[in-house]
Amino acid sequence: MTSLRRLVVALLAGFVAPATALAQTVQNPTLRRAQQAYDNLEYRQVLTLAQAALRERLTGPERARAYELLGFTYGAMDSILKAVDAFKQVVLIDPERQLDPNRVSPKAYSAFDVALRQVLLVRQLRVDSTSFVGGQGAVPIRFTVTQPARVVTRAVGSEGSFLIDSSAWNGQVNLTWPARLANGDPVPAGSYTVVVDARLGQNTFAASQPVRLSHGRVDTLAHLTSLPGYEYLPETEVPPQSWRPLGLAFLYTGGAVVGTVGLESSSLGSGSKRELAVVGGAALVTGLVMTLRKPAPRPAAANILYNRLLRDQIARRNQEIAKENVARRQQVQLTVVPLPKPGAAGVR
């Protein structure tokens, strides 16, 4: 395959592709013939048939399609200015019309792009679904203005009209609407239409997007019973078994024995020490028993202190949560959902 033939095939693919989506919806026979001629690359005939179709009674999408065929055809015939004019008609009929740069020829796409910049349009108006606490968030609004213009954005509903923004814009615009009244209260629940009015001299253009705004209760926070990552420690611990009790008994008894022997008067002689034997023996036996006995659990001072700090921390956090819940019960959760535009189900 030569490079020329490959180019022709590529152009064919680019020009034919946009037509396929709409081919089935076209009812006007003249327009259908124009579409067929375009598919057969019979450009002269496309021009004749499309212009003839435009003189007939067409639906909006059919009219846009007829101009689009003219635009593509003039583009293919290198009549760029005429292509631009045709595409201007397309976007005036269907402002949301978008060409896929990967599927149409560069000539047609650039002509479409020039046409867009020569007409004042508000395109791709989008209001994102969102949910926020009144006063702590905003509704994001995006749109594109094709020419520098004074743009006024409003939310219009049965409860009134609320100005969102009034500025000079060009190109991609990102706005936020806090959905609040002048006194700070949230706007009433209901259906609203976000209307974007663009004005440039005598030219005006408006786009709209209906939304539903509902009120709800703000979720309250649950009280804490523990802190993540922190657990209560056992407040008692079993000390390791040791010879300490017997050692202490030996030490204390030994002190008594040494003291007695050392202090005995030489002139009085040495006594029987039966009293010392009884009490000292009792002390040693007690020491031995305490040594062999399994140690009783004893309070773990550090753990008790740690648990107390943890309890204090949880109590403090719960106090904050309770305070925050009081505030939350007085707040309103605003939920905004965009609604389908009337007649948007049809093909553009």
Binding site: L248, A249, Y252, A256, R274, V278, V289
Partner: protein, 212 residues
């Protein structure tokens, strides 16, 4: 700082209950020697002990009454009954140590068969909990300003003690105590000048006590 203070308080709390009263009877074994090795007695008797503790302050009192008979080979011919009162007032200066003052008063009946003595105690004691409810104690007291029924003086007098307190069940305690007393009494009976008339006593007490 706070954990350290809490730990000290904890140890103090373990070593010394905040408020406690114990009282109970005791069986007493005693040996008594006076002046010379040939003058020796041994006997058995009864007594009672009471102890009051309030935080770091403690008061202990013991009363014993022992009939001291002449021991085998003793030169003594007459037995006598010794009644002794001991009181200690202690203040904890550490988790295991107290300073204490007190008095001792021992009387003999018949009065002339042995020396009656009274003195002031000055000393210290060390105590340690060797197990759950089991405390061992060692004390050393200097007996100051002793007075004797037969006159004389004692430039050096010492009293050593060993004690044991074991919780048997609930409020019931088992107690045992040993005391060794050495009094270097000197007396001037006449023109012979000052002579030594030492007194040495050992007492062993075993008993029960109720704690409140």
């Amino acid at each position: 700082m706070r954990p350290a203070a809490a730990a000290v308080l904890f140890v103090l709390g373990q070593a010394a209950p905040a408020q406690e009263i114990t009282i109970g009877p005791q069986a007493v074994l005693a040996s008594y020697r006076e002046v010379v090795s040939g003058l020796r007695y041994a006997g058995f008797g009864f007594g009672g002990a009471m102890s009051v503790r309030f935080h770091k302050l403690s008061v202990d009192g013991v009363v014993t009454r022992v009939k001291l008979d002449t021991a085998d080979g003793s030169a003594a011919t007459q037995s006598f009954t010794a009644t002794q009162f001991d009181v200690w007032v202690g203040y904890d200066v550490a988790p295991y140590a107290s300073l204490e003052v007190g008095i001792i008063r021992r009387t003999a009946d018949p009065e002339l068969d042995a020396q009656s003595v009274g003195a002031v105690r000055l000393g210290a004691r060390s105590f340690y909990e060797i197990g759950p409810g089991a405390t061992i104690l060692f004390r050393a007291n200097y007996l100051a300003a002793p007075k004797f029924s037969g006159g004389g003086r004692a430039p050096f007098s010492l009293d050593l003690g060993l004690g044991l307190d074991v919780r048997l069940a609930g409020r019931l305690r088992g107690t045992a105590a040993y005391a060794f007393q050495r009094i270097n009494r000197k007396t001037s009976p006449g023109s012979t000048g000052e002579i030594d008339a030492p007194i040495q006593e050992t007492v062993g007490r075993v008993g029960l006590a109720l704690a409140f």
